[in-house]
Symmetry: C2
Subunit: 272 residues, 2 copies
Amino acid sequence: MGQGRRESPRYRQIAEYLRLRIMRGDYRPGDLLPSERALMEEHQVSRGTARQALAVLRADGLAQAAMGRGVFVREQAPARRVASDRYQREVRQIVEDGPQPPPETSFTRTQGIEWSDYRLDKDFRDTGADEEVAELFGVSPGEPLLERRFVFYAQGEPQQMSWSYLLLSLVSGTPVAGPANEPWPGGNIAQLATLGKIVSRVEESVAARMPLPDEVSTLRIPPGVPVLTVTRRMLAGPDRDEVVEVANKIVIPADRTIMDYAVDLDVSSDPP
Amino acid sequence: MGQGRRESPRYRQIAEYLRLRIMRGDYRPGDLLPSERALMEEHQVSRGTARQALAVLRADGLAQAAMGRGVFVREQAPARRVASDRYQREVRQIVEDGPQPPPETSFTRTQGIEWSDYRLDKDFRDTGADEEVAELFGVSPGEPLLERRFVFYAQGEPQQMSWSYLLLSLVSGTPVAGPANEPWPGGNIAQLATLGKIVSRVEESVAARMPLPDEVSTLRIPPGVPVLTVTRRMLAGPDRDEVVEVANKIVIPADRTIMDYAVDLDVSSDPP
DNA sequence: CAGTGGTCTAGACCACGCT
DNA sequence: GCGTGGTCTAGACCACTGT
């Protein structure tokens, strides 16, 4: 039966009651929340209403259901930090040591994980620039590009997927054009250095949204967890204006990663 | 009645069918989707199942329900871009022109909106550093701080909320200590300049999650939209190591904002 | 086996928005 | 007034997990 609605609905009251108890620490990460049947009894509601209450917490990423076992308070894994100064470290190694590939890539160093702990799925193909990528590259749509699709895993968990593009005219016939050499020691910047392109500027745009179904399955994203989406351009040349790489769809589950950026300001008295 | 479950559930099939049609452009942003009753008829399911299908799309931020009217394909407002180089521009004006407040603040300039278009809610109070803020500031917990809570509005829409902290020992007795002068012309960096602190480094950490209930109401966040959370430190001094401001809870609805960062790399041959 | 969450049905009353 | 989404009920069968 229906009923008047001046106060907030029953299911929301129950959800907020549970949320409060989670915040207070009555239920700690990993703990089992009351079952749907227990909530029915306790709050004198039908199962649908009890279930809806738990659905609120699941949609907010606070709780996670396990088939046949119950609903648990989600534990948030300590997030991996991805720092922007990894780019500076990479390019320093190259400028100082020359373009011999250094032994580490920013991906492993940033996380402090060993090579053996991670894995890379890769898929290369030739394609033409679509409108968005052409705009980012500063070329015409249809421009021949090498498309590289990557999925990074660490500790058995997928950490990010990306679509990256290089000008085919730049890489064609070089070791960069094939997937065999990935992961490239020293990473993207070292790779571009072998082509004579010293990256002098990296631009990243960060946004967030809920994941698409294929992202959920590929990255094994729990319900209620958004993704960070990053669009990246790598630029080279003394004027930092030659676009040498574009990655327009870097997708990162937001429950495992924090993006760190440092902006050093020029405070000298001379205009730049 | 229940039934076997080899394929994906009915409600998910219906949801994916609708998602496909949205992606294909059969339903465009702003269009009305079939009503729950229409989906019942069309797919021969109960209302609960039809409703659940639409719930999937709403949870993913693809659709939005309007009471008494129907469920619509969500239009994504063109996102405001917040660029990291706003900091460099702010500090340049100060270094070149001295600490007279320049006429614009980064917030208005970044968006290209007029002063009259935006509004600032502010709430100042003295407090002691909690553990997290103390860690970020590099001081002991309990250190006296000025806490400033802001909510920014633009075009009548709330754009972000933040908790910002300054050392009370630095600002006490100055015009900065009171909310009356906010919004401060020239923004945070100009404000710190009047205290003799030239900001030489800004650090930002970006993450994402689903919003809390109070964030949903304060920022008017539609269901299915995550928030970007930014933690910021402003540092001063030639060694860029004196923390002068900490904002540990900047919350930004992800449907209205993209964060842009540019990292210029030092590619000179001298070690830095 | 008992208990859990996942799915589905059929029916009800409500508040809202438009015509 | 009529159609819409929002809420709630009571009951059912299913698949999965643990003992």
